[in-house]
């Protein structure tokens, strides 16, 4: 009879800053069983949205679901409400929304890549990327007034116009980060700690990506062409230079390379928006109260974010359902761990870029 031991990873772990616990059943060093516990910080946001807040305040409430992709949360909810109200948003507001969505993606991907470096023992690279990320945080502060909780999206448009004097500074910062990303490409491709070490580790095949409904960079690194930006016409993504980034290897290295390619594409989209921002209003006054049901999806940094809302014509909604990217990837995460070495688990987990704040909404 084979002897197995159970080894936990989390809920507090040196390599993992999120409150999640994976319980691994190991046979020697091999993981043969996985159990995930994700419910440490559940906050009841869905219930609060239908019992404590009116529909026009919920966009600001759901921004608090996640500090990293706050814009994506508030935009997805807001777009669902706008769909029910039949609202038409100005072109300028749409472009500004894409700009902020992509800035969300850039700083979130940089955070993930820096943690990947930290897990590889490459502390200097971790600090370099986190330092460079400040340029993006500075842009977000310039545009929205805040570094983290932006409250930028509102029903009918956005809350602040882009100040003409900010545009040059934003372009300069984007240019700096773009140059830095080229340097990261070199490190992640040629540095042993960040490339060869991660090749063939934490594999997810294309078939398994389909089977487990993987999303976001995790899916695209396995060659699965899924990206909500490619599946919606609500925002003019194809006008600003969006290109889907995929890889076929399905390992940690492939996930890193997909995120790097997405960084470059996101920066290019931001530059295109700044160079061709339409004139006009940033806000349209919308009247009415939501009635009926709407489902809206956007591509958050970690993948597909979905909001389902149901209104009855009053100020209080009947249902707000939030489906976050990490939540739906938990089964895929567990599958990837199986058969791998326990020693690789922290690096594999970091490559998923999990967000427990989103998961335990």
């Amino acid at each position: 009879m084979k002897k197995t031991i159970n080894i936990p990873l989390g809920s507090q772990h040196i390599s993992l800053l999120e409150p999640v616990r994976f319980k691994f059943e190991c046979e020697n060093e091999k993981i043969i069983g996985v159990d995930a516990d994700v419910g440490f910080v559940h906050r009841g946001v869905e219930k609060a949205c239908t019992t404590s807040f009116k529909f026009d305040a919920i966009g600001y409430v759901v921004a608090r679901v996640c500090g990293l992709c706050a814009i994506t949360h508030s935009l997805t909810y807001t777009a669902a409400v706008e769909k029910l109200l039949g609202a038409q948003i100005t072109s300028k507001a749409k472009y500004l929304r894409i700009l902020l969505l992509e800035l969300d993606r850039i700083h979130s991907h940089m955070l993930c890549l820096s943690h990947t470096c930290e897990n590889a023992g490459f502390e200097a690279m971790f600090m370099r990327i986190m330092g460079d990320r400040e340029h993006i945080m500075e842009i977000q502060e310039l545009i929205t007034g805040n570094r983290v909780q932006f409250d930028y999206i509102s029903i009918g448009g956005v809350n602040r116009d882009l100040a003409p004097e900010s545009v040059q500074k934003i372009k300069e910062n984007l240019y700096i980060v773009k140059q830095k990303v080229q340097g990261y490409m070199d490190e992640f491709t040629n540095n042993w700690s960040l490339s060869l070490k991660f090749k063939g580790i934490g594999m997810l095949s294309l078939d398994d990506a389909y089977m487990y409904n993987a999303i976001g960079p995790l899916a695209r690194a396995s060659g699965l062409r899924i990206d909500v930006r490619n599946e919606i016409d609500y925002l003019p993504y194809h006008e600003v230079g969006y290109k889907m980034q995929t890889h076929t290897d399905g390992d940690i290295n492939a996930r890193n390379l997909v995120r790097l390619a997405e960084l470059v594409n996101s920066i290019e989209m931001c530059e295109n928006i700044l160079n061709g921002l339409p004139e006009g209003d940033i806000f349209t006054k919308i009247k009415g109260k939501p009635q009926g049901e709407a489902l809206m999806r956007f591509e958050a940094p970690r993948g597909e974010l979905m909001y389902y809302i149901k209104g009855n014509g009053s100020a209080m909604l009947e249902r707000v359902r939030i489906k976050t990217p990490t939540f739906s990837c938990i089964p895929a995460f567990s599958h990837i761990f199986l058969g791998g070495d326990y020693a690789d688990a922290p690096a594999v987990l970091a490559s998923f870029d999990p967000c427990m704040s989103c998961t335990a909404k």
Binding site: G39, Y210, Y212, E231, A294, R321, I330, P331
Partner: protein
């Protein structure tokens, strides 16, 4: 968004006929509290690389009915089945309470929440 009503008895057969895992992406299960101690359970799908093509299979059920599991067809459904059990206090085949709540919790936070 296309909604298709099914009964609990035939939901597995309907999803089995419909779900080609390389064509359709399973988004999640959703629950919706209705009046008269009833709820709506939704199985939500989107088509890969199609422009916002969403299909929702739904069933209106009593809270005490047992919802069949689709995990053998859609392994990733396990996490949203467990969430449904926690939040609405319903029974889903093979899905235990304890994802967000304590395993012995008597609470069902979203049961009857909207009515």
């Amino acid at each position: 968004m296309q909604k298709i009503e099914v009964s609990l008895e035939n939901v597995r057969d309907e999803i089995k006929k419909f779900y080609d895992y390389k064509q359709w992406h399973f988004l999640t299960l959703n629950g919706l509290a209705l009046a008269d101690e009833k709820m709506e359970v939704q199985w939500i799908f989107s088509k890969y690389e199609a422009m916002d093509e969403i299909v929702i299979y739904y069933a209106v059920i009593d809270y005490n009915e047992i919802i069949p599991s689709v995990v053998d067809m859609i392994p990733s459904a396990i996490i949203s089945q467990r969430e449904l059990v926690d939040m609405f206090g319903v029974q889903v085949e093979g899905s235990e309470k304890g994802l967000y709540l304590d395993e012995d919790s008597q609470m069902s936070p979203l049961k009857g929440c909207s009515i």
